[in-house]
């Protein structure tokens, strides 16, 4: 069994090596036709840029995405500099340089990579999936009888911030930086998924398709790991299935299929303000122009945030979204599960958490207010701050860096729910409802707690669960996403996620159950 596991790991690493090495291979040749299409689509009028690319790039062979990208970007930047000096604003190219470069590269791959998409798919995704499954499946036997098996988590370099963990962190951070900021470098990854993308939406794969496909793949494989690890716990099994379903169907397949039918790309479960660009001009216009379906999406999005989200949080706690539906939560609960113990449980971290997450909530609300103000009045700025800049900085700082690079890239260093705990504005909103108006709590079972601390250690949200349980108090915290792992790891059956009457939900106690009844009454009445 261990041999199978080891060979699985080797196969996985080979797949990962192929996947990574794809960044450095390939041949590119921008044809006249591609060039003209991109110039037209991007509405580029800079003659400096057009002439430069025409002479230096078009119909020339390049042996890596980096060298081609470098040429394009240096020309673009020189062009912008020139026209800025001349104050010819109309000729400046405002698109992000790497995105213009991506547009050109996407259609210009030639040679071996393009001709062997199937083989490369097998060598990267195929080997990766196969290896990971071979690594995971033997756990059915190796983990022994069903039950909580956290043996060796703190002795392993991968899960205790050792070198494997740090290396994994670096890789993930690098991946997110490429994904968000250098899409032209990863154009080879898009090629190998073109066939799948075309079969779904009819379009070739974009970098976002790569991300979505990879996301679903990783979640599926790591969900298998969850099923094995928590096979004694039906809550975990059902919850994992739910979160996987919503990712694959709602976040991935339905939007792609909508595109095929010429409808707007729309993820029905992605609620504002997590979906921070819902009210952006391009998005609103896109929906409104799409007729009835678009209008339905618009109304649905607003109802989702204003009615469905709070009502569901009232009845079930924010877990219904965070650990049953949400994509970010879904990745955290599958890929991130091995890292849940790394969250910071200190009181200081809790303070930072409250400032940060509510700060982001305020930021997104102000940004959205400015956006709508601009949308309806046509004024481009509000109290001197340009709306566009607010949107840009939110998108860059929060949408990309916080949610992606830090949120996922740092899984192996600071735990798997960093974004959900410190950043997500939707979580902040639901947290307020959960804390003040909800039926959800984690019930503490009388006086049975032995203060062992398994619950706190494995709380991905950094809640010191034990601090409540050992006092016999229920846990009612804004940040709890109801993953149920504290319940699972408790060796004494002390905790249970429950939706019950609001009365008595918060129950501070002095003397715990089990002691003298009179003493309990005396002390608890004070």
């Amino acid at each position: 069994m261990k041999a199978i596991k080891t060979s699985g790991l080797v196969i996985f690493l080979i797949g990962l090596a192929f996947f990574t090495s794809l960044l450095f291979v390939g041949e590119y040749k921008v044809s006249q036709e591609t060039f003209e299409t991109v110039i037209k689509n991007k509405n580029i009028t800079s003659s400096w840029f057009i002439n430069g690319i025409q002479s230096k790039v078009v119909n020339k062979q390049f042996s890596s995405s980096f060298s081609l990208s470098k040429k394009i970007i240096s020309t673009l930047e020189a062009s912008n500099e020139l026209y800025r000096d001349k104050e010819e604003w109309g000729a400046i190219i405002y698109d992000k340089p790497h995105h213009v470069s991506y547009e050109l590269l996407k259609k210009s791959g030639t040679g071996w990579v393009i001709e062997n998409k199937g083989l490369l798919f097998f060598l990267t995704f195929g080997l990766g999936i196969l290896g990971a499954l071979l690594f995971i499946l033997p756990n059915v036997i190796l983990l022994g009888k069903p039950g909580i098996k956290n043996n060796g988590i703190y002795n392993s370099s991968a899960t205790n911030k050792g070198w494997i963990g740090i290396l994994t962190g670096f890789y993930l951070v690098g991946f997110y930086i490429l994904m968000y900021f250098y899409p032209d470098f990863i154009v080879n990854w898009t090629y190998i998924l073109d066939p799948i993308s075309k079969s779904l939406s009819g379009n070739p794969a974009s970098q976002w398709f790569v991300y979505g496909f990879l996301y679903c793949t990783v979640m599926t494989v790591m969900a298998v790991r969850m099923y094995i690890k928590y096979r004694h716990d039906m809550y975990q099994v059902i919850r994992t299935t739910s979160v996987l379903f919503f990712q694959i169907a709602f976040a991935f397949l339905i939007p792609e299929i909508l595109v095929r039918f010429n409808q707007p790309y729309y993820d029905f479960k992605n609620a504002f303000p997590l979906d921070y660009d819902f009210f952006f001009e391009w998005h609103l216009d896109g929906l409104i122009e799409s007729g009835n379906v678009g209008l339905f999406m618009l109304v649905w999005g607003i109802v989702l945030t204003l009615v469905i989200v709070p009502v569901m949080v009232y009845f079930y706690g924010k877990r219904w979204y965070c650990s049953w539906v949400c994509g970010c939560g879904g990745l955290a609960e599958t890929l991130g599960d091995p890292y849940r113990q790394l969250s910071d449980k200190s009181i200081n971290a809790w303070k930072v958490e409250r400032w940060l997450i509510h700060g982001v909530l305020v930021f997104v609300l102000l940004m959205t207010f400015a956006t709508l103000y601009t949308y309806f009045t046509g004024t481009a700025s509000i109290i001197g701050i340009p709306t566009y800049e607010l949107q840009h900085y939110y998108g860059f700082l929060i949408g990309s860096v916080f949610a992606g690079v830090i949120g996922t890239g740092f899984y192996p260093i600071i735990g798997n729910r960093v974004w959900c705990r410190f950043g997500c504005p939707l979580a902040a909103y639901m947290g307020l409802v959960q804390r003040f108006k909800s039926r959800f709590r984690i019930t503490t079972n009388g006086g049975q707690c032995i203060s062992c601390g398994n619950c706190s250690t494995y709380c991905e949200q950094g809640i010191d669960v034990r601090a409540y349980a050992q006092k016999g108090e229920n846990i009612v915290r804004a940040s709890c996403v109801g993953c149920g792992v504290c319940v699972s790891v408790c060796p004494r059956g002390v905790l249970k996620l429950e939706n019950g009457p609001e009365k008595g939900r918060i129950n501070p106690t002095e003397i715990l159950r089990g002691n003298d009844v009179d003493l309990m009454e005396l002390a608890n009445q004070k």
């Binding site: 043996n151 002795n155 079972n445 059956g493 159950r513």
Partner: protein, 447 residues
Amino acid sequence: MEHIAIIGNGISGVTAARHIRKNSDKRITLISSESKYFFARTALMYVYMGHMKFEHTAPYEKGFWKKNNIELKKGFVNTVHPDKKQLDFTNGTILKYDKLIIASGSKPSKYGWKGQNLNRVFGMYHKQDLDKLEKFAPNKEVCQRAVIVGGGLIGIELAEMLRSREIPVTFLVRENSFWNGVLPKEESEMINKHIEEHHIDLRLGVNLREIKAAENGQLKSVVIDETGEEILCDVIGVAAGVTPNVNFLRGSGIEVNRGIMVNRFLETNIEGIYAIGDCAEQREAIGQRRNIEAVWYTGRMMGETVAQSICGNKTKYKPGNWFNSAKFLDIEYQTYGWVWAEEKENETHFYWEHKDGKKCIRINFDTETHQFIGINIFGIRMRHEFFDNALNEKKTVESVLTYLADANFDPEFYKKHEAEIVEKFNKENGTNIILKKKSWTRIFNKA
């Protein structure tokens, strides 16, 4: 300001300190030779198993003690001088007190076996034991076999710990079935089976004759008394129960029997000196409880009680209904009220076991009045509050079974067994109990 010194910073001492602080501004000093900061002894096993780091076993952050103005002193009390109200430490320092709470806990019992003081023979109780285990049994290469002596709760935890690193374990149990002094036959046998499923070499009904050393003075083997069999091993875990840790008090004038003798107010024979937790021995029995109860929960309850007395609200120690819990490898165990290994006179047991052999319950009730006396639960979680109320209100077994769905505390989506349980009871007793559906109103209105 009155100075309260507390010897021992386990759950009893710490609970006392916290509650004294809640109710007064007295000066409090918490003394320990084991660890400056309070940690949960119950979690040491998880550190060895790699579930946690030692720092995770501390229930309070380091700043907690300062914030609550509780002084921490690391040191070993050599002698107590009640006349001078003074503690002498082994390092020569002294500490004056006005009132003293002794919560010195217990230590693993040893029964005078030959070779019991070899350095690879130790219990699993102190932080230092954990360090020893990490040193002598870091993996299956260094420790090719471990022998555990004594079949109680610590013994099975120690076996689980060693198995988590795949170290072969031989488990010597004196009784002819695991923990059968406490557990009835069926439950005990269920655990026997489960122990063997975990590839632990369980030897029932055997005693330890001697511990042998090799020529270099290192531990070599154990010899089993009944068969004379010699088992080579690298580590011996002593888990044959615990004894109050009170030797440092002998000769101090504080009355000590097996433990420190206390009355119902947890007072020793000397005014202003109290004893709580594992080290305390009750002069008069409390209900059917043992006079020395080395249990986490009772330690905590004594701490809660003594704090009241110290703060001017003189309070008798009156523990409520007995409850306890444990985990045997993968099988969780809870108990509420009394269920003895054998039915006492006038008691009837009802037993149900799930077909997978991993879950069971046993209800003990009065043969004539049918009053509910207690329940053992394995592999299912149930509400403390439900059974506490049933015991306080002297409910009948029929009433308990009727509302059994309210008692269930398993996570959502778990398979429920109440219907099956009630059906079996009805069949065996010719009753016609109808299981009521779970009601949130009933569950939460009792709060």
